[in-house]
Symmetry: C2
Subunit: 409 residues, 2 copies
């Protein structure tokens, strides 16, 4: 591929116009939108209005007049089409971790005679931690957390499996699970499924309803660009909604929160998955960020993401950089990220960042590069590989400042 060809790819990109909706720093190629999405320009005016009009001037009345009270449901409805959910099954609230806890506890109530949460050993750790936290509340044998490799899932599912809890796109490798097949497999054993969509939502079409998924959670601050620590979301299939309860039963989930009754009475539908008072500021930011998705075709996002990743893999291969690809080469099996390992991965990434190419590092030796198709250009991919080639060939990463581990993300 020549630079001219790459320019042609950008010229032909049907999503190219979306880049102007984001505020991006100069002289930077941001390949970490899979960890923290870039800021949509529309967020600033929305937050300004939330602060200076809604909070400052309308004050407490905003819960009604500016409809703060329905933000969790309304933002949930905006997320629903992105994950293949029809109306009334998604709510935006709390964090992915807290929402997982609610759903795992819900599963326990639905299937009280089952005792095992099954997950993948390389699931995103907070999912495992939340399951461990829940299991730790009970005496031995009531609930255990079992982890296995991806290949072992099928044989490890049993009639004692309460729930199969998986992350759709692997945070290290970017490999995508077959949601339909694994959901069916779990259901054949009588188990429920919970999908963590954090590394998928906004990067590809997802089909929760069509795959018969029971429950799902996901993150607002990666490809949805809702801002650092943006509220998460929670999906519960309609057919279960009248059968469930969840233990984080805060007042916002009450059927009549403003009656202030001493006894909890769960709200109808998704509302009972609310807990305490949500941050209006944080949710307004996500709400504004989601406006971008109103006009976008998720299939086009996925196609571009595959092409960006394919180009990256191809250029790295041509450059002979001695990096070990751990992501699927087949773009259809890969989320919007590409990961390589290298013994000096940490230092290489620090050197790249210093030169304006921002990816991230995951222990022990993984360099991750995310390609958010709404704001990454083919030319960015080419420039990133050129920079990496320079860093590696010149061994720039051996500079002391790049060798000292201090990063937390």
């Amino acid at each position: 591929l020549s630079l001219a060809n790459i320019q042609e790819l950008d010229d032909a990109d049907v999503l190219a116009g979306y880049r102007s909706l984001f505020s991006l720093p100069p002289n930077t190629i941001y390949l970490d939108g899979n960890s923290l999405g870039a800021m949509p320009i529309g967020v600033t005016s929305r937050i300004k209005n939330t602060l200076e009009k809604e909070w400052s001037q309308d004050l407490i009345l905003s819960w009604n007049t500016n409809n703060w009270i329905d933000l969790p449901l309304n933002v949930g409805e905006k997320i629903a089409p992105l994950i293949g959910a029809s109306s009334g099954q998604v709510i935006c609230t709390d964090t992915t971790s807290v929402n997982l806890f609610k759903l795992l506890a819900t599963a326990m109530k639905l299937k009280p005679d089952r005792h095992e949460i099954l997950s993948q050993i390389d699931n995103f750790p907070t999912d495992l931690y939340m399951a461990q936290g829940l299991a730790g509340m009970f005496p031995d044998n009531r609930l255990s957390v079992h982890t296995c490799t991806e290949d072992e899932i099928s044989n490890t599912l049993s009639t004692d499996t309460l729930v199969l809890m998986l992350t759709h796109t692997n945070f290290r490798t970017g490999k995508i699970h077959d949601m339909k097949a694994l959901t069916r497999l779990a259901h054949e054993k009588g188990a429920l499924v919970i999908w963590d969509l954090s590394h998928s939502t906004g990067a590809m079409p997802i089909h929760l309803d069509a795959c018969g998924v029971d429950m799902a959670v996901g993150c607002g601050y990666k490809y949805l660009n809702g801002g650092p620590g943006a509220p998460a979301f929670l999906y519960l299939t309609r057919s279960l909604q009248n059968k469930v309860s969840q233990p984080l039963s805060g007042w916002m989930g009450h059927e009549k929160p403003f009656d202030f009754n001493p006894l909890y009475d769960p709200g109808k539908g998704m509302r009972q998955y609310l807990c305490g008072t949500p941050s209006v500021l944080a949710m307004a930011g996500l709400d504004a960020a989601l406006d971008i998705f109103a006009t976008v075709d998720l299939q086009q996002i996925q196609s571009k993401s595959q092409q960006l990743g394919d180009l990256f893999i191809s250029l790295v291969s041509q450059a002979h950089l001695d990096l070990n690809l751990i992501s699927p080469t087949d773009g259809r099996l890969r989320g919007s990220q590409v990961s390589f390992t290298h013994p000096e991965g940490y230092s290489i990434m620090q050197a790249l960042i210093a030169k304006g190419v921002i990816g991230d590092f995951r222990e022990p030796d993984i360099m991750r590069f995310g390609f958010a198709p709404l704001y990454i250009r083919y030319a960015d991919v080419e420039a990133a590989v050129t920079t990496m080639k320079n860093v590696i060939e010149e061994k720039a990463y051996f500079a002391p400042q790049y060798q000292m581990k201090n990063q937390v993300t």
Copy 2:
């Protein structure tokens, strides 16, 4: 009291200068800072910087370079002196409801042979709901929630009481509990105590360490003015910190979150009370709001709050408005709010709001008026009573638009 006297009170007010630090709407007397604090002007520039510099330009690197990662601990340290806590015992995270759940579950681990959460029947309902949610996770008899009146607490505490869970300032009446006496009473029975400080923090001095309190939670968006749904805080006394675990064990509470190990290892000290990724935007707002308290004397806040409330009660009494006071007349027993009941309380409050005097209504017949001493003037109190006198004497509240219940706050 004449208008001239009231002007003298404002002229002599040592806190008068703080009002200019808030953005308040014109022609409005805001007496609901006990529900949602007014916006400190400093919040806007801080949020603007968080959006336009930290998120937009520094992106993922902000977790290090702008120290997002330590915000929960740093904001906790700012709250600590407001609640009488020495360093290392407070963290800012999640919601009051979620934090209560963490602490109640912690208490279960600390005292596994005790089975009862004791609380007050008119505690803020979310506290009761969270306790009910926790109890509902276990088979009968493992954990129950018992409620009694304030007078019955002493006789209801037993050797089976796991934890006495109380709200320091009653959300309906504004009555303040004797924290020291009740904490001692609970400890004499071998029970733990959890204080909900939501309606106290920022309105009066609180002495958690000196009262020997085990655990506490509180709200960021009332007298702390952190913004709608601002993050909450959690206190755990130092002597218990090495003995505890909590079940909402998300990745941010891990000892080494960025090692991404599959097994949870709780962070040291308060960090293990973090769960998922917190909203940086929401916490930055609270952080900026707390700057106001760096120079303020909580004793002066409490004194002014008592005087504002005393003035309000006195003027209402002089006006012969046929309102029934349900708050303590003794200012030392009263938080920064005054509540009256009236059969037409809902409609009167709506009429007041339409005339620019904003308080709130609580079922079945309670009108609440909050007096946040940092931005409420004595003249505001006088004007509010004059408006209320007009509304009631003219029976303006019978207008159809004030009779139709539609408010949610």
